[in-house]
């Protein structure tokens, strides 16, 4: 399925069973679900829902953390 992640379009294979969850996407991106925020179609997905929230074709995703700033 096609996802927009941090402004870029990416193709992700849909898993054979169930669907693509937030957690599995983070695994595929080799990201730990700590010290980050996940926004799906302008809505924040709480960390407790990472295992259950399913992604669909065309979803717009922002994966956010902290960088240097004043």
């Amino acid at each position: 399925m096609r996802l927009f992640i941090n402004g870029n379009q990416k193709e992700f294979p849909e898993p054979s069973s169930g669907g693509l969850t937030v957690k599995s996407l983070l695994n595929a991106l080799k990201l730990k679900p700590e010290a980050m925020a996940f926004e799906l179609n302008l809505e924040i997905v709480p960390k407790k829902d990472y295992d259950s929230r399913l992604l669909k074709e065309g979803d717009k995703i922002e994966i956010i953390s902290f960088v240097g700033g004043g």
Binding site: I5, N6, G7, N8, L29, K30, L31, E34, A35, M36, A37, F38, E39, L42, I44, P46, K47, E62, I63, I64, S65, F66, V67, G68, G69, G70
Partner: protein, 271 residues
């Protein structure tokens, strides 16, 4: 902990908050932060780098046990952008303090005061500890306090300008009227700027560029730490009044060894 400063429910042992941007390297940043003695650092909220995983990240160099993290809403020009950014910042999970910036002008980065007050009200309602970056206008500072801000942060001068405290009078007026802490944020260029702010009675200062872009950030951070302590102690010690156009000698006025007797009258025709 020796609590010097309390903002909302948060306690700080240093009256200096330091930014994490613009350093030449994370290593220098880490040393400078240690040298400053701060226990609160600001961070910006941005996209994770997904393309280059080998790139180091800021949080590899900031120990959240040592430093309280104060995320900012830098780059936000609308209330909605600021609220969205604040919510994302809180979701990262390291802090529910927010340095609220709603920018009104791209060149000067001066705040949009109406937007700032509106965003403060909204975020206070959502349980954030709001630290708003504002102008040195008293009325706005009072409105922000009424809106529930945990402190107010008037600018000394534009962000990164290094001009110091451009209106000591306005900062003093704000300090004299607000019940919440007043943190001078932006414009600090060198150590004496911090001493000036603290001598006016500021509860603290927030700065980034003044350290990060100094030729020697580590030693500048140390100088600034000393200036912050010196300025605060001077303020607490009750300075003398300023007297214009007259002097008051420090040494005694009575006739003494070194004070000549008045010149004798020349008596004419004395034989």
């Amino acid at each position: 902990m020796n609590c010097e400063l309390k903002i909302g429910k948060y306690e700080f042992k240093s009256r200096m908050f330091v930014g994490t941007g613009k350093y030449s390297s994370f290593g220098i940043m880490k040393e400078a932060l240690e040298s400053s003695g701060t226990d609160c650092v600001t961070v910006a909220v941005r996209r994770v780098n997904l393309t280059d995983k080998t790139k180091e990240s800021l949080l590899d160099y900031i120990d959240p046990k040592r430093y309280k993290i104060l995320p900012n809403t830098a780059g936000c020009y609308t209330v909605d952008e600021a609220i969205r950014t604040a919510r994302l910042a809180r979701e990262v999970g390291l802090s529910d303090m927010i340095k609220l910036e709603v920018i009104g002008d791209e060149k000067t980065l001066y705040p949009d005061l109406n937007g700032l007050i509106e965003a403060t009200k909204a975020l206070v309602k959502e349980g954030f500890t709001v630290l708003p970056y504002t102008s040195d206008d008293l009325v706005t500072a009072l409105r922000l306090e009424d809106a529930g801000a945990a402190c107010v942060m008037p600018l000394g001068a534009p962000i990164g300008s290094g001009l110091g405290i451009t209106s000591p009078m306005n900062i003093q007026i704000i300090i004299s009227r607000l019940k919440v802490p007043v943190i001078v944020d932006a414009g600090v260029g060198t150590a004496s700027d911090i001493a000036v702010a603290m001598e006016l009675g500021a509860d603290g200062v927030l700065l980034n560029t003044g350290i990060a872009l100094a030729k020697d950030p580590v030693n500048m951070a140390k100088a600034m730490r000393l200036a912050c302590e010196a300025g605060r102690l001077a303020y607490l010690s009750g300075r003398i009044a300023k007297k214009y156009f007259v002097a008051e000698p420090s040494s005694p006025l009575e006739a003494g060894l070194l004070r000549p007797a008045p010149m004798p009258q020349i008596i004419k025709n004395k034989k």
